[in-house]
């Protein structure tokens, strides 16, 4: 098995002693922070255009995040969880999948949905508290962001079982954070995936904090990837600031899952440059030194250096994508703002296929 991945759980008889042990894990890395290839045998097979597309998406996502934070301050967006710093895990993991694969996101994972096909204005509608943000277009295989941390792990498990029962070679990916890996739902989902050998990928974006609670207080586990062992699935740790490593790990996990080899838990070590949410002050729990240290690992800078060295990217490209992203955000926020407001009668009608008489009556209060 590759460097950076844990072995499958030991079979009875292979064990050395009566005490269960596991080794430390080294995160899979392909690019150094200077953008040099350090692990050529794991370099994913991607064309120049594909490499440029990945960079495009990361820069776009960063710009979108910057704009969203501003729009939030202006009161033009509602609930929004910043993503800067996590572009490699978000963009890379989605890029490694097929359109026919399924995504079950947590509340921070809007970029994966948009890159998987959800129109951007719907992401904004969702943020603005409009029900139709969640009307997912036909052919886009996603659920909307989950507010209940961990619930999506179980949905993904069920979707994976569906693929298995229908004998379809698709995979499902579910995202959560280091905090999310403490929820009971997480363990129950992983265990099911292990016992039914399901085509699922559980991607934990370990950004070091759950709101204010640091990783060290979240778990005593050696790593989150180690949590795969007890569930009997593969566990992998990856440098989450290295987009090529993320792509390589997710592609490998997806290939294994498609071939009937079961589920993988991937822990991506990453960092969110902004606070947890729009209403939160990170200076209360993070240090400037720590933030500066992670800034050096910025996934966009790192991948940019790699592409620049190959003559595939320049500062002008970055500037151009930023402008494009700003224009797209402006257009889509306008569309979201111009979308007709939802109504209480409309809400009532969305509860059941056929609105029951008692609910029909309740509309009278709102006409």
């Amino acid at each position: 098995m590759s460097k950076g991945s844990l072995d499958a759980p030991a079979k009875p008889g292979q064990a050395q002693a009566h005490e269960v042990r596991s080794e430390n894990v080294i995160p899979l890395q392909i690019l150094s922070p200077e953008g040099e290839v350090v692990n050529p045998e794991r370099l994913p097979d991607l064309s120049d255009d594909q490499l440029k597309e990945i960079m495009y998406r990361m820069v776009f996502t960063r710009t979108w995040d910057d704009r969203a934070v501003n729009l939030g301050r202006q009161g033009r967006l509602g609930f929004y969880a910043p993503v800067s710093g996590q572009e490699a895990t978000m963009v890379g993991s989605e890029y490694a999948l097929e359109k026919s694969d399924f995504i079950c996101p947590g509340y921070r994972d809007m970029p994966q949905l948009v890159w998987h096909g959800l129109p951007l204005y719907q992401a904004f509608l969702y943020s603005r508290g409009h029900q139709h943000g969640g009307q997912i277009p036909e052919g886009v295989n996603v659920l909307m962001p989950q507010i209940i941390i961990g619930a999506q792990i179980l949905h993904a498990t069920g979707i994976a079982m569906g693929y298995k029962l229908k004998n379809e070679k698709n995979v499902v990916i579910a995202y959560t954070g280091d905090g999310g890996s403490s929820e009971g739902d997480f363990y129950e989902g992983l265990n099911f995936a292990g016992s039914f050998k399901l085509p699922a990928i559980y991607f934990v974006q370990n950004n070091g904090y759950a709101i204010t609670t640091p990783y060290a207080k979240q778990t005593g586990a050696q790593s989150i990837a180690h949590k795969a062992l007890a569930a009997g699935i593969r566990g992998v740790q990856v440098d989450g600031m290295d987009v090529l490593a993320v792509i390589s790990a997710v592609k490998e996990a997806a290939d294994i899952a498609r071939e009937g080899g079961g589920a993988t838990l991937i822990e991506g070590l990453t960092y969110r440059f902004r606070p947890h949410s729009m209403s939160d002050d990170a200076t209360k729990y993070r240090t400037k030194d720590e933030e500066a240290e992670w800034a050096l690992k910025d996934p966009i800078v790192r991948f940019g250096k790699y592409l620049e060295a190959k003559g595939l990217w320049s500062e002008e490209d970055t500037a151009r994508v930023k402008e494009e992203a700003k224009a797209a955000v402006a257009e889509h926020i306008k569309k979201a703002e111009q979308t007709e407001k939802m109504t209480v009668p409309g809400l009532i009608d969305s509860m059941f296929e056929q609105t029951p008489p008692n609910l029909e009556q309740q509309k009278a209060d709102f006409q």
Partner: protein, 325 residues
């Protein structure tokens, strides 16, 4: 006397009790170092140490179950569930295990736990952060439910709840946390659990409410007064046990009543209150008791919550219906 917001009063209640009783411990997601997402426990870890006030991993069922286990060990846990919708993750531990500990052990153990949770609409929060879930708690045997409407009551009721030997579900309205300041005594005092309060006297109709809706009801009462209608407003403060005596006394005077709640209309607190009014005061009524409540949908996405929640105009409309019956 000090002027405090509700959140300050809540913190003060916990400080007083941490100081008084070494068995009181506080825990939950982010409650330690930073003092919680609403800063309800800010400074308490610094003052009392990490053994008394601590962060937990992100796992509500474990938070609930930890509280039960600590109770068995003689502690008095105050467990914070960060937002109300996340109690579902802890329902077994809160509403089954904690609420049944006394019964299942034949009285050998008790569960002197306070489950604190913010709830309440009108703040455009994300999904499942605001739902009014008091009806679930009221339907659960073995747990008491408290919903304060102001800083003074919040502190006095929370101190009572912490000293209570049975589990309490203590719901704090988000929209009241920093809405206004109140005279709040320093140090210890209690407000009794299970006692409602008449917050406005009137003779024509009784408006029964709790939490933020008390304030909405008072606004409606002021509107009604302009048309010569004297509404009496009752702040229930505790939903289980329900102070039916105070309600009946009021209805004897007014002969008409409505109940206002933030939770969806059917099968909730208002339905129970009306059932108890029927059992205890049917002969004093001159009109059916009506509910002013949101429709039976999920708590809507932020865009229309203002229309969905009861407002003074809808309360006035409901009052007029019982007056004109």
């Amino acid at each position: 006397m000090a002027q405090m917001t509700m959140i300050e009063a809540i913190k003060d209640a916990m400080r007083v009790e941490l100081k008084r009783d070494p068995n009181v411990v506080i825990f939950g997601e982010d409650v330690g170092h930073v003092g919680g997402v609403f800063r309800a426990t800010e400074g308490l870890q610094a003052e009392f140490g990490e053994n008394r006030v601590f962060d937990t991993p992100l796992a509500e069922s474990a938070i609930g179950g930890l509280a039960v286990g600590l109770s068995v060990q003689g502690f008095r846990p105050i467990a914070e569930i960060q937002f109300v919708g996340f109690i579902f993750e802890a329902l077994d531990q809160m509403f089954v295990q904690a609420a049944r500990l006394r019964y299942r052990s034949g009285g050998r153990y008790n569960a002197p736990i306070v489950f604190r949770t913010p709830f309440g609409g009108g703040v455009k929060a994300a999904e499942l952060h605001t739902d009014a879930l008091e009806g679930l708690a009221m339907q659960t045997p073995g747990i008491k439910t408290i919903v304060p409407s102001n800083p003074y009551d919040a502190k006095g009721l929370l101190i009572s709840a912490i000293r209570e030997n049975d589990p309490v579900f203590f719901m704090e309205h988000l929209n009241l946390y920093r809405a206004f300041r109140d005279e709040v005594p320093e140090g210890e005092y209690t407000v009794p659990i299970g006692k409602a309060k008449v917050v406005r006297e009137g003779k024509d109709v009784t408006i029964i409410a709790y939490g933020l809706m008390v304030h909405t009801a008072l606004k409606a009462a002021a509107e009604l007064e302009k048309n010569g209608v004297q509404a009496e407003v009752i702040d229930l403060r505790t939903l289980m046990p329900l102070d039916i005596e105070t309600i009946v006394e009021s209805i004897k005077k007014t002969n008409r009543a409505i109940v206002v709640q933030e939770a969806q209309k059917s099968a909730g607190a208002a339905a129970e209150i009306i059932a108890q009014i029927n059992e205890n005061a049917i002969l004093h009524l001159e009109a059916p008791v009506l509910r002013c409540a949101p429709p039976d949908t999920v708590y809507p996405f932020a865009q229309i919550e203002d229309v969905w929640l009861p407002n003074p105009a809808r309360i006035v409309k409901t009052v007029n219906q019982v007056l004109q019956f």
